[in-house]
């Protein structure tokens, strides 16, 4: 009785390994392109992720926070009628003190944001006036570091203003100048507040420099008659990857005000859609470019493996004459491709991660700006430090591994099929 045909897995594996070793130069050349491609793909992803993380960090510090809590209509109306009661801030503080907030949340800030007019003896300009807690803001916002004259607000300031350089120029202000802020109060009356310039900042972002004024939140609350209510609560987390988790957590903890229609919780992606769209677009462009690179690498693998197959017709014929089926003969080529792909994928990704680790202090790309004297770069209204710290996103790394393995498998498939469809008798004909 004939035994059940065997799959000959061990033999196929042995032949595949021997063939890779036999054609060492070809193996090394193919492997090198795959390893370099993998390392490039991995590092460029961690570098992009670092750039994006920095953009998000910069954006959320001056903007909404990683997670924003606001009154439902505020994002559209920008009016103080759409504000949060002071009790919501207490709820948020309590929520972030419990897990998982306690582990992931680094800071909570709050602001009173109103649109109004800034008036000096010279003229008037529209302004975005932010009532802030000077101590919290100094710790979080990069704005206090961008002072060009004077100083940032301090805890005991009352009638002080920290003004953007563009607005200072437009209103012909200087340190110590007085200006009047005017905005609609809770009674829908126009209310004015006299303040004095204590500091001037320049971010390089026209939108901020020409309109933003920071004043102490207590002063703003009194001026507009809203007490300890706020318009924005921002929650900062240790990594933007934790945002969805914290949004869900705060959503649960603030269930009551949310149900009453007093508050909404949103991630920075929703709060800053322009920044989010830009990052998503940038990621896709990156993937597209590297995808094209890998298609090229894939074709080079197809070419290399196919050339090897074409030169090994006799060998495949012998294998079939000796008892391998066409499918098992294909498997020899497929396993060769898979072995090479799997090993090179892990080496390539490992190399990319090693470069990422080596640059954990950051990669200074300011040299790319040439002779331009630029401290930071502005992208969609946020500033990006030229020292980029690469960030490893495990999900993206898994995607890269999957993508590279997919390219390797697909590239090996066609040559493998060719190896299984040879004419055995033709392949073994003696050639003089």
């Amino acid at each position: 009785m004939r035994a059940r045909p065997s799959l000959h897995v061990g033999v196929i594996l042995m032949l595949a390994v021997r063939n890779l070793r036999r054609n060492l130069r070809r193996t090394i050349l193919t492997a090198t392109s795959f390893v370099i491609g993998g390392a490039l793909l991995t590092f460029s992803q961690t570098f992009d992720a670092g750039t994006h993380e920095q953009m998000v960090d910069s954006g959320v510090r001056t903007g909404s926070g990683h997670v924003a809590v606001e009154a439902p209509g505020f994002r559209v109306s920008r009016r103080i009628e759409d504000r949060l009661p002071g009790s919501t801030l207490q709820l948020v503080r309590a929520a972030v003190a419990s897990p998982p907030g306690a582990e992931r949340v680094t800071d909570v800030f709050y602001r009173l944001t109103v649109h109004g007019l800034a008036t000096s003896a010279t003229g008037a300009r529209p302004a975005q006036i932010l009532g802030v807690d000077p101590t919290i803001e100094a710790a979080l916002s990069p704005l206090d570091e961008q002072v060009v004259e004077g100083r940032y607000l301090e805890a005991d300031d009352r009638l002080a203003a920290y003004v953007g350089a563009g607005l200072v120029d437009a209103l012909d202000l200087r340190i110590g100048s007085r200006l009047v802020l005017m905005a609609q109060d809770t009674h829908k009356e126009v209310a004015g507040q006299l303040v004095r310039v204590v500091g001037i900042f320049r971010t390089g972002i026209g939108e901020l420099d020409e309109s933003v004024i920071h004043v102490p939140i207590a002063t703003a609350g009194e001026w507009l008659g809203i007490g300890d209510d706020v318009t924005n609560i921002g929650v900062m987390v240790d990594s933007s990857l934790a945002v969805p988790e914290i949004v869900r957590h705060l959503g649960r903890e603030l269930a009551e005000p949310i149900a009453r229609g007093e508050a909404v919780v949103m991630g920075w992606q929703e709060a800053m859609p322009a920044l989010y769209t830009m990052i998503v677009f940038d990621e896709w462009v990156g993937f597209l470019v590297l995808g094209i690179l890998f298609v090229i690498i894939g074709f080079s693998i197809i070419n290399t493996v196919l050339m090897s197959v074409l030169h090994r017709h006799r060998e495949f014929g012998v294998l079939q004459a000796l008892g391998l089926t066409p499918r098992q003969t294909s498997s020899v080529v497929l396993v060769e491709g898979l072995l090479q792909t799997v090993v090179c994928t892990f080496i390539g990704v490992g190399l990319g991660l090693a470069v990422t680790a080596a640059l954990s202090d950051g990669l200074d790309i300011s040299g790319l700006y040439g002779s331009m004297d630029i401290g930071e770069v502005e992208i969609v209204g946020v500033t990006v430090d030229p020292v980029i710290v690469p960030v490893v996103n495990p999900v993206r790394i898994l995607q890269i591994l999957g993508f590279m393995l997919f390219v390797g498998v697909v590239s090996s498939l066609y040559p493998a099929l060719r190896a299984g469809t040879i004419d055995v008798t033709e392949s073994m004909k003696f050639e003089r």
């Binding site: 021997r18 079939q320 000796l322 008798t425 073994m428």
Partner: protein, 233 residues
């Protein structure tokens, strides 16, 4: 599959027709032949007479256009490709004109390759190869790759590979064509000894007069058909 009836090979009205562009080439024409177990048979004839094609048909490397072929009791036309591969593995050994050893394997690994596929235990493989290498004067060359062996040595490894798995039949296509007369004589001696002592059935396709002289049955082919079939004592 049926039981073997005392023959190693039987063909009945076998035709193999190739289509070459618009032309039909009858490579094998109506061949009916029975080769008994333990025979030492040569298929002789000029180039293009169809002897290699007949050998390939018997070995299940290609399928006939018409007719039936039985090898060790199995009718090849009834077998799937997978079963045909299994039959080649278990019942047929091949020796080729160009040796066709696997270049990535050593002499020993080449020789034991079919047994590896058959799942023969390592100790038994080793014993069989040691004995055959000893018989064929290959002892000491086990670890050499094909590229480091002479033509005669490579062909001896190929013969060991063909017989080591204990097939019902060894098909040898012009086994001496690339060898000098001395190596050719030594190879024939070796195959004759294996035939005599182990009872291995050999079928050669050849136009080497020396091989024809040494064979005990000579089947001459002309234009794809059997022209004569002569058995010697």
């Amino acid at each position: 599959m049926s039981e073997s009836n005392g023959y190693a090979v039987r063909t009945a009205g076998v035709w193999k027709i190739f289509q070459q562009e618009a032309e039909e080439v009858q490579a094998v024409r109506d061949v009916s032949l029975t080769i008994g177990r333990g025979e030492f048979t040569a298929l002789a004839g000029p180039s293009g007479s169809g002897k290699t094609t007949l050998l390939n048909l018997i070995g299940g490397l290609t399928r006939p256009t018409r007719g039936e072929i039985w090898v060790a009791g199995s009718e090849l036309g009834a077998l799937s490709n997978r079963e045909l591969a299994q039959l080649r593995l278990e019942q047929v050994g091949f020796v080729f004109q160009a040796y066709n050893l696997l270049p990535v394997l050593t002499a020993l690994e080449n020789a034991e390759f079919p047994m590896l596929l058959q799942g023969v235990p390592a100790a038994e493989r080793s014993e069989r190869i040691r004995e055959l290498f000893d018989r064929t004067g290959m002892t000491g060359l086990e670890d050499r790759r094909p590229g480091k062996l002479s033509g005669g040595q490579q062909q001896r490894v190929a013969v060991v590979r063909a017989v080591a798995s204990q097939p019902a039949l060894v098909l040898a296509d012009e086994p001496t064509a690339n060898l000098d007369s001395h190596a050719s004589e030594a190879l024939l001696d070796m195959m004759a000894e294996l035939n005599r002592e182990l009872g291995v059935t050999f079928v050669f396709a050849t136009h080497d007069g020396h091989v024809m002289e040494r064979s005990r049955r000579l089947v001459r082919m002309v234009d794809g058909a059997i022209d004569s079939d002569e058995t010697r004592s």
